[in-house]
Symmetry: C2
């Protein structure tokens, strides 16, 4: 972007972004300096995840308040940390803003009316304003970043860093046949609002990982069906889902074929966990989570994705889910 | 991208990316797990930097071998670590590939000729193939990542993580009036080839930071003039450049006004260091760097950017440099 715009934006950011004891260098240097301070962390291990959102694929700038877009860009990255039961340390955010010359990528309300690109500056600020309440909620600084103009759609590329607690990270590969599959919250119908409003399951993941024996886990981003298949594959086994047990969201219940939406909509950002059966019974009896936790099936020795029919037999289940690069979720 | 494409690409990546003792989790989980192993690091501090490159701004996909684009995306992030004298720990790379439907963003040679997007897969592989030799040279794993299709130009968004050595990080803010300004290598003319071929000054930064007292430093990405002004501003002083001392590159010497190119071209990715005068004399006498090190001026108490004229007086110097979001460097 122009030097004037860049300077003004960095000045605004340095005033707007809260101080954090995890960040020990002021903005404007070549990088952010992070100093983990939590006392229960394993300092020898850092978790890094990255997730990139594009206009036309993950949101539509012309239709959505940019604060919700900024919030989502942060939330999807925090959800990846939750999937590993990592404690957020910092997020760095790179943003490519559509230059006004980009054909059609910049809605007219962000066009500048003078020689100063005030509209774009407001857009950049709004994206950050959307991130900050969520960042504050999880006490995670948004560190550094890179904000550019380019001749294309709005792109937000976040990288979240987290620290591993004493219990170690939650991975996808530790599941065993017989493990129960537990899912937090509800699934399906994320298109209506949940894709922008969801709360990453950071606290739930830390709480469960600290108090219970979890074999494996991930966050449901592309769809319960495909993500269950991925967890099973990473663990070298299969997954059998009891379709009549799915905790279907209120939004999905309003749609035709709620079960299909629950399996395939994606962007639920709920945790899917593989838990040894006795521990699962213990966990479900104690019910420690306010968001709820539902037993939806189990890992099985037959690789693949299955649904269990009424007579207990396994029938193939398609690993449906959202296909990256397909038309925007909003136009499905 | 399509699940088939994504699965094939992740499979290729898991086989192609080398093992690293810094990475303790196989690919395909929700995040990368990093475990610093160097013995001279300060485990309480992690450096994070991010840099996003877009087609049309930082390169032209239709004109440049994608291996050089991938290499550049990694190298610019490593250069930011060098600017802080941090030892590379890992890089995560998010890539947005232009879907074939994107108007004009995908050169015809990458269009698939069948129902499988083989062309795009080859493009994604080539980007990584360009990164890997550089990653190997600096022993830095390319961890995790996120590869998507979108309806826009090729975007590569890298985040580099580094560890701080015992001497602490090199920042922009520690310079003092009287410090000599030293620059590694040569500057100017990066457009010809250097923007793709440069070697990040990681080793030089670690070597100098370990053996000498450096007050401040950065990497010259936007132009010697504007970056010298930034270093001075961060340090609360001004910078005076002796224009007749600039180490002008051979490429810039072929152009009209080589001095202007040396000041303003940017993408030199050389280190600009502020060093106390006696230490600078010591350092220049010892000449420890193969790439050379040149005294080009000093920090002064008058804020602003200055050139020193023959009679020793200061005259204003424009903080020229590359403007992000301007037309591609290649079309200047």
């Amino acid at each position: 972007m122009s030097q004037e715009f860049e300077a003004e934006f960095v000045r605004w950011l340095s005033e707007r972004l809260p101080q954090s004891k995890n960040l020990t260098l002021p903005m404007g240097d070549d990088g952010a300096l992070l100093a983990p301070t939590a006392t229960d962390i394993n300092p020898a291990q850092i978790v890094a995840t990255t997730d990139l959102l594009s206009d036309g694929i993950d949101f539509r700038l012309g239709e959505v308040d940019p604060q919700r877009i900024g919030r989502k860009a942060l939330a999807v990255n925090l959800s990846d940390l939750a999937a590993m039961a990592a404690r957020p340390l910092a997020v760095v955010m790179a943003i490519a803003l559509p230059s006004q010359s980009s054909a059609g990528w910049l809605p007219a309300k962000y066009h500048s009316q003078s020689d100063r690109p005030q509209g774009l500056l407001e857009l950049a600020k709004s994206l950050y304003e959307g991130m900050l309440p969520l960042a504050e909620q999880f006490n995670v600084p948004v560190a550094g970043g890179d904000t550019n103009l380019h001749d294309g759609p709005l792109v937000l590329s976040g990288t979240a860093l987290g620290t591993v607690t004493r219990e170690g990270p939650l991975t996808r590969s530790g599941g065993q046949p017989g493990d129960r599959l537990l899912v937090t919250g509800t699934v399906g119908g994320s298109l209506a609002a949940h894709q922008f409003d969801f709360t990453p399951r950071i606290e739930e993941a830390l709480q469960l990982n600290a108090a219970y024996e979890l074999h494996a886990g991930l966050d449901i981003s592309d769809g319960l069906a495909i993500d269950a298949a991925r967890l099973a594959t990473s663990s070298g086994c299969g997954a059998a889902i009891d379709l009549d047990r799915l905790p279907i969201s209120a939004a999905a219940r309003l749609l035709e074929n709620p079960v299909e939406h629950a399996l395939a909509d994606g962007e639920d950002f709920e945790l899917l966990l593989a838990v040894p059966p006795q521990e699962a019974a213990h966990l479900l009896a104690e019910g420690p989570l306010g968001c709820g936790l539902t037993d939806i099936g189990e890992l099985v020795s037959q690789t693949g994705l299955w649904q269990r029919s009424a007579d207990g037999k396994l029938a193939p289940l398609a690993p449906t889910g959202w296909l990256h690069g397909q038309p925007h979720r909003g136009s499905r």
